[in-house]
Symmetry: C2
Subunit: 379 residues, 2 copies
Amino acid sequence: MPHLTELDTPAALVDIPCMQRNIARMQQRMEGLGVKFRPHVKTSKCLPVVQAQLEAGAQGITVSTLKEAEQFWAAGIADILYAVCIVPARLPQVLALRRQGCGLKIITDSLAGAEAIARFGRQQGEAFEVWIEVDVDGHRSGIAPEAEALLAVGRALHAGGMKLGGVMAHAGASYECDEPVALRRIAEQERAGTVRAANRLRQAGLPCPAVSVGSTPTALSAQSLEGVTEVRAGVYVFFDLVMHNVGVCPLQDIALSVLTTVIGHQPEKGWAIVDAGWMAMSRDRGTHKQRRDFGYGQVCSEAGEPITGYVMDGANQEHGIVCRQGGGEIDGDIERRFPLGTRLRILPNHACATAAQHPVYQALGPDGQARAWPRFYGW
Amino acid sequence: MPHLTELDTPAALVDIPCMQRNIARMQQRMEGLGVKFRPHVKTSKCLPVVQAQLEAGAQGITVSTLKEAEQFWAAGIADILYAVCIVPARLPQVLALRRQGCGLKIITDSLAGAEAIARFGRQQGEAFEVWIEVDVDGHRSGIAPEAEALLAVGRALHAGGMKLGGVMAHAGASYECDEPVALRRIAEQERAGTVRAANRLRQAGLPCPAVSVGSTPTALSAQSLEGVTEVRAGVYVFFDLVMHNVGVCPLQDIALSVLTTVIGHQPEKGWAIVDAGWMAMSRDRGTHKQRRDFGYGQVCSEAGEPITGYVMDGANQEHGIVCRQGGGEIDGDIERRFPLGTRLRILPNHACATAAQHPVYQALGPDGQARAWPRFYGW
């Protein structure tokens, strides 16, 4: 196993002890609130990470693509929720997984979708398990808890011979909060709306065993999860600068960073040029509109200590520009501060997006030794 | 071979006839201006694309990572310029390629870099071929043509026993132009600055055979390339919405698009939700500050016809929001316009970034049949 100091750059580093603390914190919180926890594996797409989540007590996983479902089913994980409304043309792929024994659950938020699932299911003699997506904050997909369509979709599935497995919601609007009061409010809005949808289905005589909610900010802010059966969250496993700005993690909880090397300078501009550009960081500028803009990321020493006031301010494909944060005073000492060959770490804006740029994580133990943890991509 | 209409979504489509026209246009322009053309393969990272460029007359390739150098050398391409200032710690990797017979050239823009190369080269008995990066527009790396450092770096390499192979510049600031006059001006600035640097080296008694310039906008705008020996450009092979806004390609020249399927609606908001999010498009918002903001991309029919006024306005990891451009009037008819299951294509802001999200291109011939063209990623 190579040591941190021997790794080629750029590289995606995972601090294993830090990740384990993030996993334990979330799992303990969910157990305290009396709900099951179903991590969203779209963040890592990496088996050792997901195994650590399951070993800590997670029950089942959430996926964003059928590729993830196939990969984790092949690794022996059967309880899988595919949390993107199903494309009817991909139902044969779902059927193939279910016929192999995978307990894959799919979701829909439309009558047309429900009817297509039921039609194909009946043709194939398969009672697909379907959850209905509920919209609790207007940010993306889902049926409003009060909408007439909710019951119509439930009836189309149930009467059509499918297994109506529950309701699920994702309060993505929580990413726009940055105050504990607002976070608790959106968490309660997510809980209440999803439970209301479940109760409407039940009052109409339809089954609704699962009531699933979640996002990292709401999972970490909810005060009560009454009526909820499970929570989903993804990015908490690594955290990132967006979550730091939202207020749910200190910088030292960010387990993912990009290792990079200084390849040049523009001293009169106060720039150090590094070999991590947007290909290594992603183009995500999620902190741009938040309380603190970190550019393309917070600069840290190779050992992982944040170097306050220095960010990656610009990025081309394989070049990053490191300088003082906020475009203020030029650092006239940049060549001496970060000489050619200096190795730095960059904390990312958005862990899901940065991780996606890398075929492999270099997972660091407390001894600084790096294990190669492969991740997959594509669809 | 599957037909376009049978492909799973999301998928990265390459329109082969369109790509071939882009390749022919650039090659003919370079031949007309009397220079060699060395395409930048960071855009495609795909052997069939690069083979088409070489068959059209390209001489050598430009790479942005040593992984690209290794992959294309393994495919038999020997004349390779690695156009990112070398990390001294990666010189052993360069040495290994050169010892295999690969004509890999590296670049530097600092005395410290030149001295590190010469020191390692002498230790290993290898005369690395090194080009000096010149800064013609202040946008990133390189030494200003007039700077004292230029001669110091040239002397350190030459006296140190390395092969001083030339100078190279990239006028990245051309991406910020959108008028022909400004484009011609920046192209001339790139040419003149690079030639000036070459002449200063020669006047100091140093060799400087190659004078290399390029970016897609300047390559397509230069009126004279006197003193230049070769041009580099990458994104022209696919083009994209950023290049369209710069003014160097009509929409119909964009050869890369993302095939996607409608998975739901929010009718009261005028939204169709599609199964291509930022994972399929990238987070690149390159048109945000340009004359026309296309959100995450221009919507087209499955056949590739632009649907004027519709863009992907928002993106989550695996969800895209398609609606009217500019956030104006809501399309109350969105469910009938794009029913569940409708297949669309999205033209990307930035082809290099969108392509990087996909393990494979689906390359469409004139018959609509799709060939799988693999691409690689990582470092």
